[in-house]
Structures are given as C-alpha cells and as structure tokens.
Symmetry: C2
Subunit: 393 residues, 2 copies
C-alpha cells in the first residue's frame, strides 16, 4: 500500500478519535508555496489553481481542483471523487460541504506548528469570502491536532525509512572521523559529507554544520574555510540526510588529542559526560503521556546543576517527513515555541535528543541522538555515542 | 552589485512611490514553508525561528532573527542591522518599530497574488498577538503592491537571465522537432527534454507538457507512455527552464504530415492562424497603463469570433523568479483571478502570451510566446513561431 494511502487512511482514524467531521486542506500554486501537509495527501503533484483536499470522518476522500490538474489528481489513485472547475472553486466546494454536512471543519493553519501551517493568510481570507454566506463560516478550526497525530505516529514504512536515513548519517560521521587531518578546514569537512551524500544517492536534510575548535561560530551558518583543525580541538559535526523522503539528524563529537595526551583534559571529559548524562536523563523521562517540557526540563537541569549555562534551544524536536516535524516539542515554555511543549508525547513519535555546553579553549561540545517512543519509554534508533571519539593526528 | 542588493534598493524606491513607511516580511522555518518574497530579500539562507526582514522608506534594512541565524544573515551583506534573539522575537520587533515609527506597515500576504502571499495564517495570528497592545496593530496593510512592482519591473540583470532561459527553451524545442519519430510516445518526448535540460546544466521551470495527437489528455499531467506519434498529429510541447533563478515558458507546435500531404489540412491551418492572430492581437494591445483584462479580451475575442470555443485560462501571466510571477495578469475577470486582471501593465514586465484551440482528429493547437513591455508597447523575447513546424516522417 502506498505511503499516501496509509497516511490518508490513518487520517480517517484520527478524525474519528478527535471527533472532527472534515479535514480540509486548501492550497493554490503549490510549486510556489508548498503546504507541508501535502506530503501526506498527494505525492509528486502540483496543484495550480485553488484546490481543496477533503477527508471526512466517515471515510470519504474528495479533491476539488482546476480542470487542468484533474488528470494528475485522479492518477494518484487516492481520491474517490475528483471535481474539476474552471472559473471559481466556490460552487463545487459549497456543494461538497452541503453533502458532507460537517459540524467541524479542520483547516490547514496552526500558530505553533509550522508543519501544520500551510494555509497562507491570503488564502484564509479567500476561504472566508467563499464561505461567508454559508453556515460553515463558523465551523472552521485548526487542523494542527490532526497533523500532529499524522506526523507523529509513524507507520512501519516511515520508521524503516528513518532508520535507513540514520544509518547513512552514521556512516558519514565515521567518514569524517577517518579522514580528519590537521589544518583541515570546516569547509573541507563539509565537503567530505556532501561528497559522501552524493555517493550514497541521497540528499542532506539540512546543510551539514561543522564546528571546529574554540574559534568556531555556533549557529546555522556554513563551516568556515579559515577555521582549521588543531590539536586540542573539539570537532562537532551535525549531519542528516533524507532517505526516501524521511530525515535523520545526528551530531557526533570528536576530540583531537595533543601530542602529549592519551586522554582529553578533565574539562573536556566533564563537559562530554554532562552532555551524555543529560541525554540519558531526557531519554529516561521520555514516554507516552508525558508533556514535552517535562522531558526538556530534566536534561536542562543536569546541565545547569553541573554549573554550565543553559542551552538556548529545545532538547528535542520530532523528525520524519522533515527534520523538524510533528506537534509535540521537548522544549522549554518559551514564547516562540507556543503550545508545542505542552503537547503529550505519543507512541511511535521519533525525537532528537540534543544539547551542548561550550568548553573554553576547546570548542563546542554537543551530541545528538534519535529515539523512537515505545509503549513504555523510548528506544535509541541511532547507535549512541557514549565515548568521546579520540583522534591522534 | 548583487541581485538582492539591486532588488532591496529598488524596494526602497517603491516604498517611496507608494508612500508606505515599512515593508515587513515575517517568516519562520523557511526550509519548510518558503515565502516567495525571500528571493528578493535573502539569498541561499534558511531562517529557522520567527524572523522579520524590514525595509523602510527612509532606506534602512533591518533583520531580526534567531541567534543561530545571525551569522548567515550578516554574511549576506544586505542588512545594516541584524538583531538576534533567544526566547521571543516580540521585544526586538516592537523596539525596532518604535524607532521607525511607521504610519503604515506592509505585510507579506495577498488574496490574489500567490507570489506575494508567503505569510501563513498561523504567523498572521502570531503577529497580531505580538502587536496587540501596540499602536501598530492598526497599521498593517498587504505588501502585494510592493511585490507586484518589485517582481514586475525587471532589472537589466533579470532581463538577461530570462533571455538566456528563453534561448535554452528554444533550443530544446528544436531538439524535439529534429528527433521526433513515428510511434514515439509523449513520455519519450518528455525524456528528450529532460535529458537536454540536464546536459544544459539547468533545471526545468515546470515539468514539460507534451500533447500528441487527438487522444492526448489536455492538462498539467505527465505525457502518456501509450499515446504515440502518428501521421496527421499535432504535437504541442510546453517547455521552460530556470537559468540562474529566472524562468522561461514557451510552447511550440509541430504537425506530422501525412504521406500524401505537403501542407497540413485546411482545418489545422485555420486553427494555427487563429492562435497566431490572437497572440498578435494581444501583443498589439499590450502596453504600459492598460489593464490586464483588456489585453486578454482582444485575444479571446479573436478566438470566439473565429467560431472556436473560449480557452479556459488567462492569455498571459508574468514570468520571472517563478514561472507565474508579478501582480498584473492578462486574464478575464473570473473569481479565481481576483483583482489581478485589473492591475495596470508596467514597463519591463515580462509576460507569456498563450492560448489554444482544439482541432478534431488532429489535436491540441497551442503556441506560447514571451514578451517584455516597453515604453510604448511590447517586444517579443522569444523568436516568434509564425509558421507551423511541418515534419515529414
């Protein structure tokens, strides 16, 4: 069964569970602005004019689209009914709603979850204009809970794809460890990973982030051509790929031993252990039914209890069709995260666990793992880094 | 001067012309949902947390973004001031607005123009929440007029890129003409173009559309592997590429002569001439200051006056950073097109001119050209097809 068929069938179950009558995804010109929900509703197809993809609690799948897109949508084999139009979507949309008689219509917007927020404000205004003289105008709600469930609860097919993406990431990390040389720049390490990605026939899920030594610039920028490996440096690499549409997101940490060293200095080891222990604390707390911020809190506390400053990001985000996925976030209750840290953890959600401390004179000490939530806790999908990778050059 | 620098400078002129104090583009997680305005505001960079890109009438360019993106935005060299934040964008955004004291703030949404409608509804709600206790809540307007000007008025750099994209398209069309064979399928013709695109080191600006003979399915679907070239067929090919981020969009029409034919049948010639004449009529009408629908009307009338049914799409859309670009549309006043056919044509806008009639037993008779608006009229950027391309196989 195709993944889209699996996910649209899953959506019907979710609608029943949430008691929502209709899920309506309203889009236009998807080559220009691509609603992330479309990954679960229509594969490899562009919709040109305003289109509505409708799934109902009683199991109907209906698409309304411009006449020139009808063939594409029909050939997807997902929709029981595909309605084409020429001048305006209004009449067909109102007719279909009149048939479905929904008490609630979940629409593709969300304040807190970008992956459920594909409806543009202009399209929201258009939808309101179309429905203004109907009873449906007062039945619109956000579809964010549907999307959170649909994105979060991975099917077996999705889990297999993520595992494969993780395996490729891990191989890439090993390649960096083997090929690291003195005076190699961050930009050159980036190139090792980009070449490896190409050879592996996949794409990166985000530009690889390379942090070498104490002068590295921490952030989402490209690795510097001028910052180069020296003895005593921490080398942090953040590298993920998409395998068949599904992402991995892994960080590994290496230390370049000094000539007179067999083990790293105390302060490096202590930082590494703090990061590993904090990840363990988060993983121990992670299980179905807990709120995201509770998991973040125990890891964050390990770091501050050890006397390090707090890391200024969430402990873990979901991962799946995109690197940042799903509704529930393992993050603090900061304004920018909205409601997402309050969501409940569910079985089969896949999370990152990641955090860092900074070690003066050595660099950015950060590790990131990928885990899946099980019935009673969580399981690591990545092979955990429990030892600092030591490199003698 | 980089194109982004050119366009952000142009934006300052447009703000003065429209008497708008501030243009504010509000985005988040641009790897997931990419506001099309970003093509003119920030190249090759992802913004992760909520970010505001601000250009003011008095010439200031200010960016507010998450701390991990500051380095990227600074290195673009576009913004005079880059403000980073950790927990919430609110304080910095309100402070910057307090400094700028705008009477009007143009925001990135539009009912009618998808290319100016990158703000999601969830982000609109967030912005309103951030500004709810300030005076700015009542100063928000749509930035669609800024975007229409910015996208429409092509700089010399943009025009050069479009010309190059058109030249590559035209070469691809010739390749199809030379390589067409009896019993070649639509899917095989598509492959000729995709291979050519790859060899040319560019990407298609939309999946090539191939229409062979009377049984073809008209629309945005992929060419069929089962519909194959026969004598007496019209072969319509719709093929465009991106060159350095700028699009072409060209259709050419071929006719496969029958064994006993030196010229196509009367009904084919008459259809072709009708299409060509309608394009000419549109081109003659096209000039600065006219409304889009007036241009569409004269072409549409040629077709219906000749006794053919009306084509169910607009005569011409703008072209540029995307295949469908700008504000003004050369289209009829249909609901789905909103206000866009009412916009005025301006100098240096680039339009397609395209329409079709269907010829029973022969197929889809359609041609598409690309033109640029001059001071007094328009000029063809594509080498016009004035003769039906006849192929003897």
């Amino acid at each position: 069964m195709s993944l889209i068929k699996q996910k649209t069938d899953q959506a019907i179950d979710v609608l029943n569970e949430l008691d929502i009558d209709v899920w309506l995804t309203y889009v236009r010109k998807t080559s220009e602005i691509h609603d992330p929900s479309l990954y679960f509703l229509l594969e490899d197809s562009w919709l040109t004019w305003q289109s509505a993809l409708i799934i109902s609690k009683d199991g109907q799948k209906i698409a309304i689209c411009g006449r020139y897109d009808v063939q594409n949508v029909e050939s997807s084999g997902i929709y029981d009914q595909v309605v084409g139009y020429d001048e305006s979507i209004k009449q067909s949309l109102v007719e279909i709603l009149n048939e479905l008689k929904p008490r609630t219509i979940a629409i593709n917007y969300s304040m807190d979850n970008v992956a459920a927020d594909g409806l543009t404000h202009g399209m929201w205004l258009r939808l309101n204009k179309i429905l203004e003289e109907t009873q449906y105008i007062n039945k619109l709600i956000s579809s964010e809970k549907i999307l959170a469930a649909l994105r979060g609860r991975k099917t077996d097919t999705e889990i297999e794809r993520i595992k494969k993406a993780i395996a490729i990431s891990e191989e890439g990390h090993k390649k960096v460890g083997k090929n690291a040389k003195l005076r190699m720049s961050e930009r050159e390490i980036e190139k090792i990973l980009l070449d490896f990605t190409k050879e592996s026939g996949v794409e990166v899920s985000y530009p690889p982030l390379i942090h070498v030594g104490p002068t590295t610039i921490i952030g989402h920028g490209r690795g510097s051509p001028d910052i180069k490996i020296r003895r005593g440096d921490l080398i942090n690499v953040d590298y993920g790929v998409f395998y068949n549409g599904y992402a991995s997101d892994i960080q590994r940490l290496n230390y370049i031993l000094r000539e007179d060293e067999d083990i790293p200095p105390k302060e490096v080891l202590r930082a590494f252990e703090t990061v590993i222990n904090a990840i363990s604390a988060g993983a121990e707390k992670l299980k179905p039914g807990i709120q995201g911020f509770e998991v973040d809190y125990v890891a964050r506390k390990r770091v501050t209890d050890a006397g390090y400053p707090e890391f200024m990001h969430a402990l873990g985000h979901q991962m799946g069709r995109n690197v940042h996925d799903g509704g529930c976030l393992l993050g603090p209750k900061w304004e920018k995260y909205g409601e997402s840290p309050l969501y409940l953890v569910e079985k089969n959600q896949v999370f990152t666990l990641e955090l860092h401390v900074y070690v003066e004179n050595h660099g950015y000490c950060s590790v990131e793992e990928n885990v899946i939530v099980t019935k009673t806790g969580c399981k690591f999908l990545s092979e955990r880094q429990l030892e600092l990778s030591l490199i003698k050059l």
